[in-house]
Every structure is written in C-alpha cells, then in structure tokens.
C-alpha cells in the first residue's frame, strides 16, 4: 500500500507539474515564444512552430501520466525534463542569464533555485520509474494522493520564492 501510494503521489505530482507548465506557457505564450529567440537563439520562424509544439508536448505527456499510460508518460517526461534542465543549465553557465517562462514567470530570469527544482523533478520522475507498477487503488486514496501532490506542485512551481522567503530576503 505505502509504495503504491507513494508512486501515486509522484505520478500526480509530475502530471500536475506538466499541466502547470503547459498552462503557464499558454498564459504568457508571446513571452515564452520571445524567450525562445532571445535566450535560446531559436530563429523566429522556427520559434513559431517550436513554442506550440513544446506546449502541446507537455499537455500530451500530462495526459499520458495522469491517464492510462503512466510509465510511458513518465519515461518521456524524464527525457523531456532532463533535456530541458541540461539545456537551461548550459545556457545559464554560458550566458549567465536565461529567461524561460517555464511556468509563466513574469520578468524574472532563471535562478539556481529553478535549476535545483528541475533536478528534484527529474529525481521524482526517476524514483517513480524505479518503483514497481502500482496496483489499482480506490478513488478516495487516489484523491488523497492528488491532494498531497498538489501541495508538492505549488512548492515546486514557486520554489524560487519559497527559498527566498526561507532565506529571509
């Protein structure tokens, strides 16, 4: 029960994170598309295709993770998060400044805390894949897991702000 319940929390957490990333980018879609050009050097014409593809990909993965194919969705999410994190880390190291709007952030650029958050998400995704496939759970238990995952999701999305508040600055 406990392993299954933990796997369910991780599954909901990653699914919610993907949904939040998708909705955040849609909310600030023009800024996200502009950031692809300014921070990642994507040509504007390619950016017009890539931006909706990224948003659509995240929505598809969220549907897979929360839907009937969680392991396939989590495997793809692991690859996506790892690739995104590596790209962001490289750009941050190379340029010192990256604007991502990963979750629809305003003008704030990427911070070390954002990178740490991404690594924790990668670790959570990897942990889920190491757990045995979950047996069916009752709906009330799934809802409780989803509630706990919602708390983790809020903390992950606002990780930068939470850490700064904890630092007292």
């Amino acid at each position: 029960m406990s392993t299954d319940f933990g796997a369910q929390i991780l599954r909901c957490f990653i699914g919610f994170v993907l949904l939040a990333a998708c909705l955040g980018k849609l909310r600030t879609f023009d800024r996200f598309r502009a950031n692809l050009a300014t921070s990642f050097g994507v040509p504007p014409r390619l950016g017009r295709l890539l931006a909706p593809a990224v948003v659509g990909g995240e929505l598809l993965l969220a549907a897979l993770v929360l839907g009937p194919f969680p392991r396939a969705g989590m495997t793809a999410a692991l690859l996506l998060f790892t690739a995104f994190s590596a790209l962001l880390a490289w750009r941050l190291w190379h340029d010192g400044v990256v604007r991502c709007s990963c979750f629809g952030e305003a003008e704030r650029s990427l911070s070390g805390f954002d990178l740490l958050r991404n690594l924790l998400i990668v670790a959570a995704t990897g942990l889920f894949l190491t757990l045995p496939a979950a047996a069916g759970m009752a709906l009330p238990a799934i809802l409780l897991a989803a509630g706990l995952a919602a708390i983790l999701t809020v903390l992950a999305i606002d990780f930068h702000d939470v850490m700064h508040i904890l630092k007292g600055s």
């Binding site: 010192g96 989803a146 509630g147 702000d161 508040i165 600055s169």
Partner: protein, 184 residues
C-alpha cells in the same frame, strides 16, 4: 467514520493547504512590492550608509564614506545590456582611478554570477557585494545598467542609466583627463 470518508477528508484538507500556500505566496509577493515602494534616490539625497565587501579579496568597503567622489554602477548579470557595457566600463576604471574618482560596481548577486559577468576584465577589484536589503536602499527600482554619482560630501549629484547624457559627459571628461595626463 469509514476509511473512505477519512481519505476524502484528508484529500480535501490537502487541496486546501495547496490553495492556501498558493494564495499566501501571492499575498507575500504583493506585500513585498507594497513594502518597498520603488522611489529611486534623487540628486541632493544623502547616500545611505551601506557596507559591502569587494569581489576580489573580500575587503570591507564603506560606500558612503565621505572624502572622495564616487560613481556607483548597478549592473545585473540578468540584463544583456549590462553585459554589453562591461568592456567599456573596464576601460574606464583606470582613467577614473587616475582622476580621483572611486568607481564601484554594486551588486547583491552571488559571487560566481558576478565573476561570470565581469569575465575578461579587471573589474573584480572595483566590485562591492552588498546585502539584498541594502541594495534595495541604493537601487529601489532595480534599474540596470544604472549609476549614481556621489560627491565628496556623500550627497548624490546625478542618477540615471549608463549611456545617458550625464554618463557620456563623464566618459568624455575621463577620456580628456587621460589624454591630458599622457600629453603632460
């Protein structure tokens, strides 16, 4: 109470906590904006007494110490324009020192970010790190690339963005001083 009802109650509590966290963070962000109204320092204001440490050597620096004119520069590693200005500021630092003007890049960013921003220049010796609270006192709007010119008496003589007419006048003056000294 059945186990299912207990699960549902806990689930509702968990969602409520998540919502509460989200709203609390939004309130804190609003409160922070309200607590620090973005009113920049103006000519005639006194420079707040702020201490920092140099990026190179970590020596203590008192930015408001009277007795020497100084230019405080606000550069951010997150602003591409600031990166473009760094080489010109690096070239200006020597002339400023010879002209008796203390030039300080003031920042609250981590040392590794500042080193990355100033890579290829000797500006680490002209960079002072200060705390985030003190930084907001000096540059409440977070403007960058920006400057404050401070007189011998610690009063602000000019404030603006690097590249504006006051800044270009300083560049011309320092370039003229340097040429004059070489001719002499």
């Amino acid at each position: 109470m059945s186990a299912d009802m207990l699960y549902l109650t806990l689930a509702a509590l968990a969602f409520a906590i998540a919502l509460n966290l989200k709203l609390t963070l939004a309130v804190l962000r609003s409160a922070r904006r309200a607590a620090h109204p973005a009113t920049p320092l103006q000519p005639g204001d006194r420079l707040p007494d702020v201490d920092g440490s140099t990026l190179a050597g970590r020596a203590r620096v008192r930015l408001a110490e009277p007795g020497q004119a100084r230019a405080l520069l606000f550069l951010s590693s997150r602003c591409p324009k600031c990166r473009d200005k760094v080489p010109a500021i690096g070239a200006l630092a020597g002339a400023a020192r010879e002209a008796g003007l203390a030039l300080w890049i003031v920042s609250d960013e981590p040392r590794w970010r500042l080193r990355s921003l100033l890579r290829g220049t000797a500006l680490a010796a002209h960079t002072a790190r200060i705390g985030a609270h003190d930084y907001r006192l000096l540059n409440p709007t977070g403007a960058s690339p920006a400057y404050l010119f401070v007189g011998h008496d610690g009063a602000i003589e000019a404030a603006g963005l690097i590249g504006d007419p006051h800044w270009r006048a300083l560049e011309r003056q320092l370039a003229g001083d340097a040429i004059g000294e070489r001719a002499a």
